[in-house]
């Protein structure tokens, strides 16, 4: 046994199965039975559900009701759309349905009464939905300024058409508000079941709709007014351009030549506003510290001026062989690198030196500097050796100083 739900689901499944055909028919306006993506089975299924209607022998269009639904969902802009066209007709149904419901109640036809209440509720919902859709559509047109049409004349005609449509909707809303429908529903006890939907769906929303409609009409009228001004502005600009072309030597007058300079000439020159942080303001110090720590350290490039040599006396004689003795720190460094354990255990450069009395003359600070310098040279002998600074926190976070307490040397 099939239920109405099943029919709806079945229909939606048919649409989903042939979605490519439905989309093609909607976008192209029609679909050819022999072309892509149509299939004989699909055409047959969709025709059975009256989704497709014949256009010619081999071509089909989407049913108008479904195409309209897609237009609404996709907010597709139409030319001279009959916005809110059936609002007045839908509103005219309501008093008739109220009359019939009251009669059915008085005559004791309970089943008929239920039917009229359902029909009234549906009619109210239908009407509310139509008004809402119409207002949304008009709002979209007002916001996009009739983007689908190009020429000024077209825009003006479209604008005038939609102003007329908005006025018709306004009339329908006015008659709905002043037609005494609510009084009838409230005065007739038999019409009591109709009141909740009427109040909730229509009556309560009428002020908001009227306000929205007024707003839209205002935008459309303002736009129409501006459109009427735009045409002469365009003409003037073209005329001025032509004048400039025909008078290549034309130079606009200097401001001194104008006896009464217009307002636009008094446009103020830019005033640059530059602010600096107040370093003594405690409330900003945290933010400044954050900025300071993110600043990349400036690279220190030590440029040593080349030493200018002097020729010693007697250089024309046979050259002597000079044996350059390595300096104590060089010897110490070589030894330290050689003695760094292979298991990766770090060695404190300072402790290492202090343990060896022969380097007692080498000051700690100079020694650490030598070790760090060795690290920057990236020599082959230190290829597998890593130097890590042990730092003390600086006296002030913004000083920029790095205080090195020790250097850990380890093999990797």
């Amino acid at each position: 046994m099939s239920r109405p739900d099943d029919l709806v689901v079945g229909y939606l499944e048919t649409l989903h199965r042939h979605r490519a055909m439905v989309a093609a028919a909607y976008h192209q306006g029609w679909i050819d039975a022999g072309g892509e993506p149509a299939t004989p089975r699909g055409i047959q299924d969709l025709r059975r559900h009256r989704t497709l209607v014949p256009l010619t022998q081999d071509a089909f269009r989407l049913a108008a009701s479904l195409a309209r639904h897609f237009d609404e969902v996709l907010q597709k802009e139409q030319l001279f759309a009959a916005v809110g066209g059936n609002i007045a007709d839908l509103a005219a149904r309501l008093p008739l349905l109220i009359d019939e419901a009251v009669k059915a109640h008085l005559e004791g036809r309970t089943e008929d009464l239920d039917g009229y209440v359902d029909a009234f509720n549906n009619a109210v919902f239908d009407l509310a939905d139509h008004i809402e859709q119409a207002l949304q559509y008009l709002r979209m047109l007002a916001d996009t300024r009739f983007a689908s049409v190009r020429t000024l004349a077209e825009k003006q005609r479209q604008n005038a058409w939609y102003i007329a449509r908005a006025e018709r909707i306004s009339e329908a809303l006015k008659s709905l508000q002043g037609g005494g429908l609510l009084d009838r529903i409230e005065d007739e006890p038999a019409a009591a079941p109709l009141a909740p939907s009427f109040r909730g769906q229509l009556w309560g929303r009428l002020p908001q709709w009227r306000e929205s409609l007024l707003d839209i009409t205002e935008i459309l009228k303002t736009f129409l007014y501006r459109l009427r001004q735009v045409e002469p502005a365009g003409r003037r600009l073209r005329a001025f351009n032509l004048f400039l072309k025909r008078n290549p030597d034309y130079v606009a007058p200097d401001i001194e030549e104008l006896t009464e300079p217009p307002v636009w000439t008094s446009r103020a020159a830019p005033l640059t506003v530059i602010a600096h942080p107040d370093l003594r303001d405690g409330t900003t110090s945290e933010a400044l510290i954050e900025v300071a720590v993110r600043l990349p350290p400036s690279p220190t490039v030590i440029q040593r001026p080349p030493k200018v040599g002097t020729l010693k006396e007697g250089t024309d004689q046979e050259p002597r062989t000079l044996v350059i003795e390595p300096r104590p720190y060089q010897l110490a460094l070589r030894r330290l690198i050689a003695e760094v354990p292979t298991d990766g255990e770090p060695v404190s450069a300072l402790d290492w030196k202090r343990d060896r009395s022969e380097y007692a003359d080498l000051p700690d600070s100079i020694w650490l500097h030598c070790v760090l310098y060795e690290a920057t040279l990236a020599r082959r002998r230190t290829e597998r050796v890593r130097f890590e600074r042990v730092e003390l926190s600086p006296s002030h976070p913004l000083s920029g100083n790095i205080v090195v307490r020790d250097v850990l040397v380890r093999r990797v």
Partner: protein, 210 residues
């Protein structure tokens, strides 16, 4: 929003719904406008809108010698760019077959504009002529490059905003109304007739050949 709006106005920007929608919305409230105007007043400036009401800018409250000097500089800049600006916007109107003035919010699709210029020898010639009016490097010499350079200049000058970078869609800002006011004034001042007969094709062609 007060701070941003005032900063924009002081830095010489035109506030319109296209370029600075938030500041524009802020200025739609009369009380806030009064507030901004009072603040500007203390700096010798006032809040002024274009005649059509599509853009706000800061103007001098009183014109002294110093202000006159600054006004001269602003005006000199307008004079310098006038031919290029007027020529460009009329060129766009012709290419896109739009008979109306490009009001704030009007759309310029770079690809559509390029296609229209490409298929019309007059428009191609006009574009080349326009590129000669601008300062700076001439670019790669192609029509596309020339158009892009012009669009960029108009963007930098605040007449256009790039609304959709992917599709290269530009939107005209409220500053165009300022240009229109300048044009209207100069036309009235020079008694240039409003109704100039349209340029004939022959005239355009001859000019292009020249």
């Amino acid at each position: 929003m007060f701070e941003q709006t005032v900063t924009l106005l002081l830095s010489g920007e035109f506030i319109c719904s296209v370029r600075y929608p938030d500041a524009w919305r802020f200025l739609t409230e009369e009380a806030q406008r009064k507030d901004v105007d009072a603040f500007l007043g203390r700096l010798g400036r006032r809040l002024v809108s274009t005649r059509q009401g599509g853009a706000w800018f800061a103007a001098y409250q009183q014109i002294g010698a110093q202000e006159r000097r600054a006004m001269r500089e602003v005006f000199a800049d307008i004079k310098h760019n006038l031919r290029l600006l007027v020529g460009f916007f009329v060129h766009v109107m012709q290419a896109l077959r739009q008979d109306q003035f490009l009001a704030p919010g009007s759309i310029i699709e770079a690809n559509r504009l390029m296609a229209a210029i490409d298929e019309n020898p007059n428009l191609r010639g006009e574009l080349q002529a326009l590129s000669g009016l601008g300062k700076g490097p001439t670019g790669d010499g192609t029509l596309r490059g020339t158009l892009e350079r012009l669009l960029k200049k108009l963007r930098d000058d605040g007449y256009l905003v790039l609304a959709n970078p992917e599709r290269e869609i530009y939107e005209v800002t409220g500053k165009i109304e300022y240009l229109q006011e300048v044009v209207d004034f100069l036309m009235a001042h020079q008694s240039i007739p409003d109704e100039v007969e349209e340029e004939t094709d022959t005239e355009v062609r001859q000019e292009t050949l020249l």
